[in-house]
Amino acid sequence: MTARAGAGARTPARAHFEAEYSPLASDDPSLGSAAVLPWDEEIFGFAVGDYRPASRGELASRTGLLSEALANWSQARTVELVGCRVPASDTALTALLESVGFRMVELQLRATLAPLRSEAAAPPRISVRTADPSDRARILEIASSALRMGRYHADPRFPRAAADHRYRLWMQRALAEGEGTWVAVAGPPGSVRGFLHAQISGPAADIRLAAVDADAAGIAGPELFRGAVHELSRRGVRRVTARMSAANCSVLNIYASLGFRFDEPESVLHWHSPDAPHLVSPDPGSPRP
């Protein structure tokens, strides 16, 4: 599955890569704020931005200014892609953003299991264990090939190879991190079929990324999540969250089977710089490289 468990799509180790937001237009803070995402820039070799829009009311009569400010901000920073998240219920704001060139690429949901009780998940029937150094190569192999969800994979103008590379580096970083980062694998040593990356902070855990080898036995996905929840409960975690694509029905059903509930639907939109050299043709008939 990407199974294919492209669970969350947030950046690991936020503390080390916190984006610094500033007004999109220095002379007009009411248009919203934006930041270059350091982590994604480091991975892709070109700059990626994130836009936090002002309210619909602030923007409604000023789409021309917003469009100009977006282009100027991106050009000044050689940003090729700008992402934006808005509540899914605010379809008017989404439409406004689409009028200045954003395109919706994904609908995301938050999954929450709280309170996590010890009986919430039975022990898995396959090995689900903390990754050790011998699992590293297999984890990176799965990370760079098995994920098909997440906003970069969902964007038809974003190169698939770059999106795959991002997840490989994501897991490289996660495996190198220390306290608070947990990487679990499904399968015995030598037969790892999937992995799960979570950040643990006291009684709370956030599942950031999970993937299962597409060719692996189909039971690996459900057992990986069951095993992870079981282990988190054993470690004293009482609240587990994750963000995922609403299109990832396979993972949604697994979370639902474990008792997770869903909220905070968000539309994820991308804006592309008109002359972005790294992005692929928007021709829908062309296969993505």
Binding site: I126, G187, S191, A217, G218, S250
Partner: protein, 101 residues
């Protein structure tokens, strides 16, 4: 239990799962893909079918088999690809003298 009977048991279980979940699909046979892009089941459905299958083997044969464990994960090729590959895997466990009850 011969191969034909094992296949029949799997087909019965998959079709029963489909009925219980309101799922649709064509006839289930030995070559039917169980899991994957063109498979009859999603991952949760596969788990449900395997659990049901283990229970049926216990009820009808008095034998305990474990279809979902690290042995399955360690196979070079997944035993859950098709009805036939699952039948082979279950048949091997039954002929291998899995612990009885």
């Amino acid at each position: 239990m011969n191969d034909g009977a094992i296949v029949d048991l799997i087909v019965e279980t998959v079709e029963g799962y489909r009925v219980s979940t309101g799922g649709e699909g064509g006839p289930v046979a030995r070559e039917t893909a169980l899991f994957g892009p063109s498979g009859a089941l999603d991952s949760l459905g596969l788990v449900s079918v395997l659990v049901e299958l283990e229970q049926k083997v216990a009820d009808r044969l008095g034998r305990t088999v474990s279809l979902m464990d690290d042995r399955a994960m360690s196979q070079a090729s997944s035993p859950f690809r098709t009805v036939g590959s699952l039948a082979d895997y279950l048949g091997a466990q039954l002929s291998g003298g899995a612990s009885g009850r």
